[in-house]
């Protein structure tokens, strides 16, 4: 992870690949990383109807590991650099996007798709929230490029997980038969205490409290193994996304397919503008763009099954996991990095 970048002005960081690397180079280098290639292996196996499977408890372990590693390292980073106004600004930007992107998404969906309003609200909620593995992938790509980013972005990621759920419920409310719905209170408890939110924030706090010393103790596990674990995780994501696409193909109309690619780009654009405002580094801008562009496939679906049971869970999952995630992993991330880098240079 980064070092020293938060304290200095970002443009001052001399990027090792600064002028030489074009967007195409970047996209290519991203595509031939082991992580992305294992994702492709998974996709291939799924479409070829191979019986290759990562056992479910192992997939859950990988997800737990990823969240622990991301959270802990982010916390240790914040312990190192302290709480700055830029950190608070980024948090505010993240929360604002998580709240507002669903509104934008809902409007677009109502105009372009034939989804009923409750399903449209559910999809919108997924796009306001974030995907932790996409976050992991962009940080992995930045590390490989030795392009530093603000360590507290993991806190921003955590903060963006849940506001989108509130937005989705608000959007859906006018169209629901509320007599049948559960009381709001218990739902909120369940949403905020979703396992993935708790472990991400918990690990972040542990990292903040134990700092670099704690990080040293667990480094061989939480840091050194990260790329390898990410390879298996992305293999699994390829399998799950590929199979999800096959099962959920029927839900994927042309307009929803286009939405699942255009919406991330719009989210990334909003994030890019906010990043300029906050004065994030090139790396930090790329991360915030990726967060805005990514769509949830763990926290939001789980919350909406409880809070919005009338919505068909297969529609947003097919879009998020089957289209948006592969798009971001294969093309989006290099694009966001490239744009972020151009913007950061332009800002000087």
């Amino acid at each position: 992870m980064s070092a020293g970048v938060v304290a200095t002005r970002c443009g001052a960081v001399s990027l090792p690949w600064g002028n030489r690397m074009t967007l195409t180079d970047l996209a290519l280098q991203n595509l031939i990383s082991p992580m992305v290639l294992f994702f492709v292996v998974g996709l291939f196996a799924a479409f070829a109807k191979s019986d290759l499977t990562v056992p479910e408890p192992v997939a859950k372990l990988l997800s737990l590991y990823l969240l622990m590693s991301i959270g802990f390292r982010g916390g240790a980073e914040v312990a190192h650099h302290g709480i700055t106004t830029q950190l608070l600004g980024s948090l505010a930007a993240g929360v604002a996007m998580s709240f507002s992107i669903p509104l934008l998404a809902f409007v677009i969906l109502k105009r372009t798709s034939r989804l009923n309003p409750v399903d449209a609200a559910a999809v919108a909620g997924h796009y306001g929230s974030i995907s932790a593995v996409t976050f992991a992938a962009v940080t992995g790509a930045l590390n490989q490029l030795t392009l530093p980013f603000e360590g507290y972005m993991v806190a921003v990621a955590a903060a963006m997980e849940t506001p989108a759920i509130m937005s989705a419920l608000n959007l859906a409310r006018p169209y629901r038969d509320l007599s049948a719905s559960e009381t709001g209170h218990s739902v909120w408890r369940e949403v905020m205490l979703n396992g993935s939110v708790v472990i991400l924030l918990g690990a972040f706090l542990v990292g903040m409290i134990t700092g670099q010393k704690g990080l040293t103790t667990v480094k061989p596990f939480l840091v050194d193994l990260f790329p390898g674990f990410l390879c298996i995780f992305l293999l699994d994501m390829g399998l799950v996304a590929g199979r999800g696409l096959q099962h959920g193909r029927k839900y994927l109309t042309t307009s929803l397919g286009i939405f699942a690619i255009v919406m991330p780009l719009m989210g990334a654009a909003v994030a890019a503008a906010l990043s300029l405002l906050i004065g994030l580094s090139a790396g930090g801008t790329a991360v915030l763009m990726t967060l805005a562009a990514s769509a949830s496939y763990i926290a939001v679906p789980a919350a909406l099954r409880l809070a919005l049971p009338e919505a068909n869970p297969a529609i947003p999952l097919t879009m998020s996991l089957g289209v948006t995630f592969p798009f971001n992993l294969l093309l989006g991330i290099p694009l966001y990095i490239s744009v972020a880098n151009t913007l950061a240079k332009a800002a000087h």
Partner: protein, 103 residues
């Protein structure tokens, strides 16, 4: 061996809903229940499989509950209040048990 007739309720329900159903069981005063994992399936909403899944959404669990015939209807009412809005279904069948007082 002397046996006594009871009712067996089998429920297949979405995993995220498990806690809601078991709270209903407590409310209906059943003596107990057991949850079995389901690893794959197909229904009107399509096919699914637990393999490789990171989250519980879209996955199912099976709940078995042995109740006294007299209580069965009350339990069914409670359970159905949850199941009808969610993906899943309920079946009822006849079984015999040895120790009647347990249930």
């Amino acid at each position: 061996m002397q046996t006594h007739p009871k009712k067996r309720i089998d429920i297949i329900i979405e995993m995220p809903l498990l806690r809601r159903i078991t709270e209903r069981f407590d409310k209906a005063g059943v003596s107990g229940y057991s949850v079995l994992p389901v690893v794959a399936g197909r229904g009107q909403t399509g096919a699914w499989s637990a393999g490789g899944q990171v989250s519980d959404v879209g996955q199912m669990a099976a709940i078995i509950c042995i109740v006294d015939a007299g209580k069965a209807d009350a339990v069914l009412d409670e359970v159905f209040a949850v199941v009808k809005k969610q993906i899943g279904f309920v079946t009822l069948s006849d079984v015999a048990v040895v120790r009647s007082e347990r249930f």
